[in-house]
Symmetry: C2
Subunit: 165 residues, 2 copies
């Protein structure tokens, strides 16, 4: 029987649970929401020293403030009391390597259906961090935008570099 990655992770989970001490309260203790790229090298827990219960973590392709990220931030702030937002993009991002139109057209060619969503690819990391911050600040649905900060993580060094928003 083939051992899948999922099987591997489930064995790890047994070790995790053996040392686990819970439950913690539902609202994030540090009242913070992180919005980061899904990239496999961006270990948000390691890179920020996040502990269980500290902060919401929202992630998608690019770490972009899409409507769905805004939905998550609205729930985070309005129902669960978070106040700070941390945006994280990273160097060597896959979203820098393709164009929206070409990606969507390639899907249409293969499946016959063009995705109704933009792929959210971008050409410049800092510009896209700023766009995400602007989307959040101009959204009517995210009430607390005084403490939005943006960063680019260097996947070679693990260091966060702040982006002037």
């Amino acid at each position: 029987m083939t051992d899948t990655a999922t099987d591997h992770y489930l064995r790890n989970n047994a070790d995790y649970a053996a040392a686990f001490d819970g439950p913690l309260p539902l609202p994030p203790a540090r009242r913070t929401a992180v919005l980061a790229c899904m990239d496999a090298r961006l270990n948000v827990y390691g890179a920020l020293g996040l502990a269980e219960g500290d902060s919401h973590v929202i992630r998608n392709a690019g770490g972009v403030a899409t409507d769905d990220a805004i939905r998550s931030l609205a729930i985070s702030q309005r129902l669960l009391g978070t106040r700070e937002i941390i945006l994280i993009h990273h160097t060597d991002c896959g979203m820098l390597t393709f164009g929206d139109d070409a990606f969507r057209e390639s899907i249409r060619e293969e499946t016959g259906v063009k995705p109704p969503w933009a792929a959210e690819a971008f050409a410049d990391l800092e510009t896209d961090v700023r766009q995400s911050a602007a989307r959040i600040r101009t959204s009517p649905f995210v009430p607390h935008t005084d403490a939005v900060r943006g960063f680019v993580l260097d996947v070679a060094t693990g260091l966060l570099k702040e982006v002037v928003l």
Copy 2:
């Protein structure tokens, strides 16, 4: 000067970078994408024993297969070679505590604007894991759906329980 949660995390990041060994390749080594709830107590890295470079991690309020999660999965599979998908919801989820209509109406009352998105609240964890799996399997944009598995993490014990999809 007030020390924010973000400042605290930036100090942690300096420690992380001091011990960091990179860069790793862009495509996830274990060819897996995880879709999980944003909940602060769901430490995806700890709970699965994820290492840097292993797997994409997509997260939103609920861990729901929204259109934006489908966008991320499409990019993950089509451009970066992942093949397995792991869905994770968790006990004591905030999404069990409110209703879509009431949440959106409360935002309309406060801001004058009703969100164009559904809040994606749900009444049953396993049912929503199954719905997320079904959304992925029926999406024309996610090509590899043979290896989709779904779980509920118990925030009291840290253990993953598999959901029959």
